[in-house]
Amino acid sequence: MVECTECGATLAMNEDTEVGELITCGDCGADLEVTGMTPPMVQLAPQEEEDWGE
């Protein structure tokens, strides 16, 4: 389990989650980047100026 850095909600993390993976907070919808597994840690993922890719 890990706490959403934006709204504090507790998020479940399934086994095969990896560092670098993006998960969405069920409560506030924030995009979170998994930065650690033991212990599980997340941070707000950077907002990316999405464009049609390179």
Binding site: E18, G20, E21, L22, I23, E33, A45, P46, E48, E50, D51, W52, G53, E54
Partner: protein
Amino acid sequence: MFVVKVGGGAGIDVDNVLVDLASQREPFVLLHGGSDETNEVATKLGHPPRFVTSVSGYTSRRTDKETLGIFSMIYAGKRNVEIVSRLQQLGVNALGLAGVDGRLLEGTRKETLKVIEEGKRKLIRDDYTGKVEKVNVALLRLLLENGYVPVITAPILSNDGEAVNADVDRCAAAVAVALEAEELLFLSNVPGLLRDLKDPSSVVSSIPKAKIDQYVGFAKDRFQKKIMGAVEALDHGVERVVFSSANIPTPVRAARSGAGTVIS
């Protein structure tokens, strides 16, 4: 002045294009890719290519530091040297440049990349990819005015002075706009935009820029990017963008006189 981009895919008769270019009287600038050979060499070097799909559905080459090195070996090294020396042999005073040279092509490196890999959404931080935003047109004019023909490829230079991978199609569009070229030609192993991918004769011969949205649907992923590049160029002063085959006789002359798909 026209700009030609010849693809780096397998089955593209680059020499066929170079021979035709050598007979052109009008000034031109050439850009080239090298994707297939990069994949081959990367695999042989034990660092096989990986492609990632951005969350909005576009694929690009996963470019970590090692991949960037291999990318430079083929684009800026082997292929650029081969094309430049072959053009010199044909009497064209070609001069090879990667985007990093003299800050010819600059752009922002994407610090992070949101991608989908094996069904998972991931954030990639060590990707050396960027979007071209600035062209050193003074350098191009200096070389053209002194009788040199620029032969340009990636990598480009990021704002903090790093070599980064960039889509050469998009670089071609940026160069065409910067040089105020009338025409931008994309020559590759496909005859143009096909209504039916399996039917090479189903080439859409011409598309008015305003109706581009009706046709984008025909294009598959990579081709959609090419069309985006074309639209960008047309929006900034280029008059005609042509997608045609590199493998037909006099492919440059043909593309300039209506072969393939012409967007204007």
